[in-house]
Symmetry: C2
Subunit: 385 residues, 2 copies
């Protein structure tokens, strides 16, 4: 395969010690094994000078650990937005000395099984099964052949595999809280609130976001003005829904169930001769690229893709010590906070306790802490020529 590598035996010979001694020294157990300081030094020098690198393949065969993780996604790998999932996983893996096998199943269960098996054949230490959008999935049988975590997904069937998902319910609370904090205690409408049945297959965002919103609004004693369902979470649907809404009533704030719906809402609001945020405040979810393109910038609760990816490999690598938690140990579901990205689409209605300059929103004390920004924002996305 390569220009002949130097092996541990080479190093040992070159240092004038046994292979065992060399092995102990290089794995840091030299002192423990009471190898002479002189011999240790000779081994290290030989290793350095010959450019010795341990052969992970053979080590893997012996120890069963390959410092390798499989990342199996439905289509996330080469998708513009959710590619940040991979970014996080990649960074976390590298920090811990692991490499990632990455592949896509294109939603094909057969291909999925084939790829998972192919990874097990290569002795991966575990598999991250990732979904492009947060949803319930049926865990493929092939996964039981080794450690695994579900990324951006939860198991619909009973399964001992832990999940990493965004905290959508809390995101709902955050979104509603932003409006409350800005003094909107009335005339709040929802765009995209759909009954579970009309929601993308297995999607969790719809119900959980709604739950968080409803809970927060209830607690504050404000009633929803209206809620228009949108089976398709695309700009066009958002536009239609908002148009219908504006025909029958006059909201002062909108919570759109994702940014693409919000873009449609922007357009409908504009068509109606109204302005964001002067006439209608808009808050949304995802922090899609467009959230920063539209004018005024869209205040939105961000999907923490990068952080999700990181967490997935951490849980995968540190996992295994949580199956003892009680007899009926349910699979752990790790919820990752969805940080608020404050932009300019929310108007402050009532004067409140704190400083006005740092943009609208972000004021009054509503139940629970409110996340802002967070350290996980990944790098810029570039063009291609």
């Amino acid at each position: 395969m390569a220009t002949n590598r130097v092996t541990l035996a080479d190093v040992a010979r070159s240092a004038g010690v046994s292979q065992t001694a060399a092995s102990f020294v290089l794995s840091g157990r030299g002192a423990e094994m009471r190898i002479s300081a002189d011999a240790q030094e000779r081994v290290r020098r030989a290793a350095r000078e010959t450019g010795y690198r341990p052969n992970i393949v053979s080590r893997s065969l012996r120890t069963g650990t390959s410092h390798t993780i499989g990342f199996v996604s439905d289509t996330v790998a080469t998708t513009p937005f959710a590619g940040h999932l991979i970014w996080g996983a990649l960074d976390a893996a590298r920090e811990r000395g692991h490499l990632l096998f990455i592949c896509e199943t294109e939603g094909d269960p057969d291909l999925e099984r084939e790829l998972i098996d192919a990874m097990h054949d290569r002795g991966v230490d575990g598999i991250v099964l990732a979904s492009m959008y947060t949803r319930k999935i049926t865990v493929p049988r092939a996964l039981i052949n080794g450690p695994a975590v579900l990324l951006n997904a939860v198991a619909s069937n009973r399964s001992p595999i832990p999940s990493i998902v965004p905290d959508e319910t809390d995101a709902g609370r955050t979104a509603a809280g932003v409006l409350l904090d800005a003094g909107h205690t009335d005339r709040i409408a929802l765009i995209g609130a759909a009954p579970p049945r009309q929601t993308p297959k297995g999607s969790l965002a719809a119900v959980q976001r709604l739950q968080g919103i409803a809970e927060t609004l209830d607690r504050a004693g404000v009633a929803m003005l209206d809620a228009i369902p949108c089976p398709e979470w695309q700009p066009r649907s958002g536009y239609e829904a908002t148009r219908r809404l504006l025909e029958k009533t006059t909201p002062t704030a909108l919570i759109c169930f994702n940014d693409r719906l919000a873009v449609g809402a922007y357009q409908a609001i504009s068509d109606a001769g109204l302005e964001v945020p002067e006439d209608i405040s808009v808050v949304s979810f995802d922090d899609d690229l467009i959230a920063d393109w539209v004018r005024p910038g869209l205040t939105t609760v961000a999907l923490p893709h990068y952080e999700l990816g990181r967490k997935a490999v951490h849980v995968l690598l540190d996992g295994g010590h949580d199956r003892s938690t009680g007899a009926d140990a349910r699979p752990a579901i790790h919820k990752i906070a969805m940080p608020l990205r404050t932009r300019d689409s929310v108007r402050v209605v009532a004067a409140a306790a704190s400083e006005p300059p740092p943009g609208p929103g972000e004021v009054l004390g509503s139940p629970g802490p409110r996340e802002v920004l967070g350290p996980s924002g990944p790098r810029e996305v570039l063009g291609q020529t």
Copy 2:
């Protein structure tokens, strides 16, 4: 690592033959070794029923081939557009029974070396070193430890490593040809044509596209009206350049050096009270996502990312038998055709030989065949909720 796998020894025992026999049968050399048909059948049945899968790690240790490829990119992996590079590589690898290690160097040479070494440690069969945009790179020393190809890049130093790049020169010919074919024999201006020095670090697109354009225009005997350089290939620069151009002259067609420049040009044209393509035709390069968003749709010569990715792993896997081509065997540079994506930004000026309905452009016989569309257009890109 897993629920104990079934090994070749298990299969042999279960079939009542020696491990050697089992190995031969399962590697298809049973007949050649004249194993009894009966024994062969028993082995195959045992393998099937026990769900035997060969352990690639141990096989790799023995044979030195891991059915694994390393894909090292600067930042292409999670980039919206050029992620298609990976898509192509992934598909091609899977078709040939290989899995991909994917990682990113973020342009850091130390990290790059570390990752390449980590892959060699894991016995990869070869490494694809990918760049986000086509350019010259200095080949990292670590690559010499095994087979490799350069993807979307060529070596600036002398190096025996083959390259896969888009055929930018021919793309230039194509772009110019589109205008010629549509009857534009006059008043053609260039937006983004920059002297090599002002071009993004090591970028090849600028010079090669220009060369192809110039060559084709020359051959047709048409002189360029003007050429405005744009050191930054971004919409803003395209806007400025086009504005300046329109202040001093009146082109009837623009060749923009990429789609982002073209978007800026659209805006400047609109600001000047003119229309595309009625007043000014526009043709461009890349087939960026926006090319299909803007109205009218932008006719552009596409970067064949998917095809590039495919070709890279093919060359990597089939390579090795091309070092014998003469004594001074230069590294092969594989140029991948850039297909034309015909949309609505080019007006047909002169009536010509062929059918008018199928959109503008795509008519007269100009030197050489003109690529259209091509089978490599990958899948749709989706949202995230």
